[in-house]
């Protein structure tokens, strides 16, 4: 009798514990969003909304006239991220295909954990690589004065996104039922055709998820791009020009800005835009995934 009561109590304590945790997480997330939103709104008492979104001049400390246009840094963020994806997607899917389809299982058992460990390299170390290794090489190849530019950032972000893309894509390729490839091979298809026409399409949902996760990391990454892209606040003229991303702008300026000034609020507004972009990306990938899975089943 007593024992039963005790186990009931134990159960309700455990329940309450997990319930609190769940609620807490949701509340913290909402809290962050609310803070971002309410600290961003005052910025628009002084900044014209149209200027904010359409001007490419960001010069909050000008003694003559302050400019608060985020177009340049939005472009910068998209350029490095896009560049990173252009590099990382083919290499990532290629590596995943190699690991799941071509490599001996012993090679896979060794290589895959190593790739996954790469995800744990601190971003400041990757940024360091950008300054001392990729920078000089890029400067030499393209004959520029230094190699701190969009390509450098893209290369580094690609390196950071690759472990995620490789690991998750490989998981979903390996999860494709063997009966599919059997059917394909029995029709006279070779391994390459089977991979491209059966296995990759069948694992597309996992691969899209992998790419989206990688992309999310690239867009939100701060330290690496801060160190490697040169941080010129002008509108990027190409992949060889130095650019400044939204994350870098916030990181550079927030430490020196007077509290509760327009500039201060404007930086939060930049953060809000960044948040919305990643949010929409995640939402989009979810929609794509659901659509695809519905069609598959």
């Amino acid at each position: 009798m007593k024992k039963k009561k005790f186990s009931d109590l134990k159960e309700s304590v455990i329940k309450a514990f997990f319930f609190t945790n769940g609620i807490l997480t949701v509340m913290i997330l909402f809290g962050i969003f609310a803070l971002l939103l309410f600290t961003a709104i005052p910025a628009f008492r002084e900044i014209d909304l149209k200027e904010f979104f359409t001007s490419h001049q960001w010069n909050p400390t000008s003694p003559v006239k302050e400019h608060y246009g985020i177009l340049s840094m939005v472009a910068g963020t998209f350029m490095v991220s896009l560049g990173a994806m252009i590099i990382a997607i083919p290499i990532g899917i290629g590596t995943a295909s190699y690991l799941s389809d071509v490599a001996h299982w012993k090679v896979r058992e060794i290589v895959k954990p190593i790739v996954e460990i790469l995800a744990g390299i601190p971003s400041v170390v990757i940024g360091f690589l950008g300054i001392v290794l990729f920078g000089p090489i890029l400067a030499k190849i393209f004959g520029t004065s230094n190699g701190l530019n969009a390509i450098n950032g893209s290369l580094l972000l690609a390196i950071m996104a690759l472990p995620t893309i490789v690991s998750i894509s490989e998981d979903s390729l390996s999860a494709v039922p063997k009966t599919y490839s059997d059917a394909s091979l029995a029709l006279g298809a070779n391994r390459w055709q089977t991979l491209v026409r059966v296995k990759l399409p069948a694992s597309l949902s996992g691969i899209i998820a992998a790419v989206m996760l990688g992309m999310g990391r690239a867009i939100g990454e701060t330290m690496t791009v801060l160190m490697a892209t040169g941080n010129a606040p002008a509108f990027p003229r190409g992949f060889l020009s130095s650019i400044r991303t939204m994350t870098a702008t916030i990181a550079i300026e927030l430490g020196e800005v007077p509290y509760y000034s327009t500039h201060y609020y404007a930086l939060f507004a930049v953060g809000l835009v960044l948040f919305l972009i990643t949010f929409i990306l995640n939402l989009l990938s979810d929609v794509i995934l659901n659509k695809y899975q519905e069609r598959e089943q």
């Binding site: 059917a183 029709l187 598959e296």
Partner: protein, 253 residues
């Protein structure tokens, strides 16, 4: 009887690693006939049928000895193009295994990997294959639906149509009805019966009534060996080996 079989095994031994799975298999399957392979589970029926289109090749550590002749030519000769072989010797699996694609694309797949681009021609062959597999009337308005929306029996006939589309000469069935219901099974048996008009058919089955109904020749296998191979009538009415008799009368297996 013609003097050359369509497909023939001569002194075939097969090993998974060091373990022997087929012992001295000799069998000649005639053109435009249905040959059934029966025997207790684990006796090597699947292993044998998969040697005929070299589907065992992907399993690491296998070894095969002896010859398998398709129209007199050894399919294990190093110069043989496996892709061409598998187009000539099609296969339908135990569990229906359509691709996660539309009904149309399931059948068009084999044509496209062979480089066919002409849309009209592909449509024509898809329709013809589905008719041949007696599935057309049921699904002709659903060509863009996912193949998984079909019932199990329909999926299996879709897989048969998929094999037929690339015009094989021999079709291998490995227990094609073991995962579907009796009504669907009857349809597939009927279909196999029709197919022998144009193809050479080899069917693995653990269902003896099925073998008796659909086949012209039957081989009884046990422990990796062919115990008896003869006309189906003979095997089921007057077997010469007592093991065969015991098996078909249900005394074991």
């Amino acid at each position: 009887m013609k003097n050359q079989a369509k497909i023939e095994a001569r002194n075939v031994n097969f090993y998974y690693g060091s373990q022997i799975a087929l012992k001295n298999i000799n069998i000649a399957c005639e053109e435009n006939k249905v040959t059934a392979l029966i025997g207790p589970s684990g006796c090597g029926k699947s292993t044998f049928i998969r040697t005929l289109n070299r589907m065992n090749d992907v399993i690491p550590g296998i070894k095969i000895e002896g010859d398998i002749l398709l129209e007199g030519e050894n399919i294990y000769h190093p110069k043989v193009d496996i892709a061409v072989l598998r187009k000539r010797v099609g296969m339908v699996f135990q569990k229906p295994n359509p691709f996660p694609k539309s009904i149309f694309n399931n059948i068009a797949y084999g044509l496209r990997i062979n480089g066919m681009r002409d849309k009209r021609k592909i449509e024509m062959i898809v329709e013809k294959s589905l008719k041949e597999a007696t599935l057309w009337d049921e699904i002709k308005d659903r060509m863009d639906e996912n193949a998984f929306s079909l019932s199990g029996g329909q999926q299996q006939r879709l897989c048969i149509a998929r094999s037929l589309a690339i015009k094989p000469e021999v079709i291998l069935f490995d227990e094609p009805c073991s995962a579907i219901d009796p009504v669907a099974t009857a349809k597939i048996e009927e279909l196999i019966h029709q197919l022998k008009e144009h193809y050479t058919v080899i069917v693995v089955t653990h269902n003896m009534q099925q073998a008796a109904r659909i086949s012209d020749f039957t081989a009884f296998m046990m422990l990796g060996e062919i115990v008896e191979y003869d006309k189906t009538d003979k095997i089921f009415t007057n077997p010469s080996n007592t093991l065969t008799e015991d098996y078909i009368t249900g005394r074991f297996g």
